[in-house]
Symmetry: C2
Subunit: 280 residues, 2 copies
């Protein structure tokens, strides 16, 4: 089962890469250098976990992963915009990401703002072309990405001076779990899943998203001994407490899938376990 999930996820990853490559205008097309900067921020990508959550949720709900490809690409475009804007000098002021200069370092600040704007706008153009439930997919994505979702998380993040446990959990919820839950929700919508199935999948996505962010914080703290300005749950939890919380969320996530056919949920379970046990 696990080998089969890995094989499926590998195929889906390839499809996501192809889809994104197909959607993005070529580097040299006007207005220069906007499209080059959009591609620079998207390729080479990270693990593309949000699109994979979307496709695996569609699969779990009995849909064909192809029908969720546009939704999956839209989620990655939206995620990519958040990285470009979060890196800006007026935000986290990061100069490198995934081993290369950030967009504003490479292309200047104005182009970085516009690149984020263009990726965000393209996310909705792509989502609106979904073959099934297009308008609902746009709604789910916009709600998760909006002023009460991802953006709320970023506002809290930049204004939190001495965050307590509650604030850190709220930031994790909005900055990470809201979008992963939406990735799963759009996959369920692409499969036209019944409302109770959708809700179960969203519970899975939300819990996995919380676990994912806790592990991110743990990996960040291993990575470097330098003083980290970034907000982390390790400011309020010990390493062991953090691992316990992440394991609890992962168990919750897998439990939320109980009513689905096991053969169909194998990729989702694999993703949740990989998110928990990863070392990078």
């Amino acid at each position: 089962m696990n080998n089969n999930s890995e094989k499926l996820l590998g195929e889906w990853l390839q499809k996501v890469e192809q889809q994104l490559d197909l959607l993005l205008p070529a580097d040299g097309t006007p207005p220069y250098p906007l499209h080059a900067a959009m591609r620079y921020s998207l390729f080479p990508g990270g693990k593309r976990i949000r699109p994979l959550f979307c496709l695996a949720a569609c699969h779990a709900a009995g849909g064909s992963s192809d029908s969720a490809l546009t939704a999956a690409a839209a989620v990655e475009l939206l995620h990519s915009y958040t990285l470009v804007h979060d890196d800006l000098p007026c935000m986290d002021d990061d100069t490198t990401r995934r081993g290369k200069p950030t967009v504003h370092v490479q292309f200047g600040e104005a182009i970085a703002v516009l690149t984020g704007d263009a990726l965000l706008t393209m996310a909705f153009e792509v989502a609106s072309a979904s073959p099934v439930n297009a308008a609902k997919i746009v709604t789910a994505l916009a709600r998760a990405g909006g002023s009460k979702g991802v953006i709320a998380g970023q506002v809290m993040d930049i204004s939190a001076e001495r965050p307590d446990e509650k604030t850190i959990c709220a930031i994790h919820q909005h900055k990470t779990a809201d979008l992963i839950a939406a990735a799963v929700e759009t996959g369920a919508l692409a499969a036209d899943a019944a409302p109770d199935r959708q809700q179960a999948l969203v519970r899975y996505g939300n819990a996995t998203g919380l676990a994912f962010q806790i592990i991110d914080d743990l990996l960040d703290s291993d990575e470097t001994a330098a003083a980290h300005k970034e907000l982390s749950c390790l400011q309020v939890w010990s390493t062991e407490e953090a691992r316990t919380h992440a394991a609890k969320y992962t168990a919750e996530a897998i439990h939320a899938l109980a009513a689905f056919p096991p053969a169909k949920t194998a990729p989702l379970i694999h993703l949740a376990q990989s998110a928990l046990n990863r070392t990078t």
Copy 2:
């Protein structure tokens, strides 16, 4: 007829204000101060011409203006985001707009970036809730606002050093006409207009948008004798040439409405003529 158009447009303006007020979360709701900044950028508004174009187009196509209210609000939200981001220090670096400090002056640069992001995201959330043709309305809005539309115009604007006539016309097209054409298109979609009707309305919107921007340039040059860093068609045209172009576009716009019942197009014609003859 003209009086009736003015009355209708006045009623629609009120509905647009109500709709925007209804959609925007209250000032004091978390995450602070994001929602306050979103309201600050939207209220008090300008003339709300883009929503009025949308409602008048829906009316011309035989629809009820109510069915286009969400699309109209979405267009204004998107327009408002462009103003917030264009004003940023890394872009036009403007410190006042409509007689008050710009968003980044009032709330700081990070909140201004996030306010623009949130307005843009909300535009698509609102558009996706349109009662008729929601997905198509999202597509039209995203295409007009995207990397080959409004954002292309802004990229060209910030990179144009000694713009020629062709460049200035392309910037007018993208920064202004693309969104006004989309406002009209979303109105036509809300009325579920037949494709040839939609196309005629888009031709109207595009030509009116071009005329609107030329008049803006003329009014800006009257307004202040100070050296204007802003790009203007008066860098390549005389005042008289500019007026001739604007009048030609307005005539084209009105001509595009020839196949519609005159009683229904009166508000659109009034808007086109007002855009041409306005003094503010």
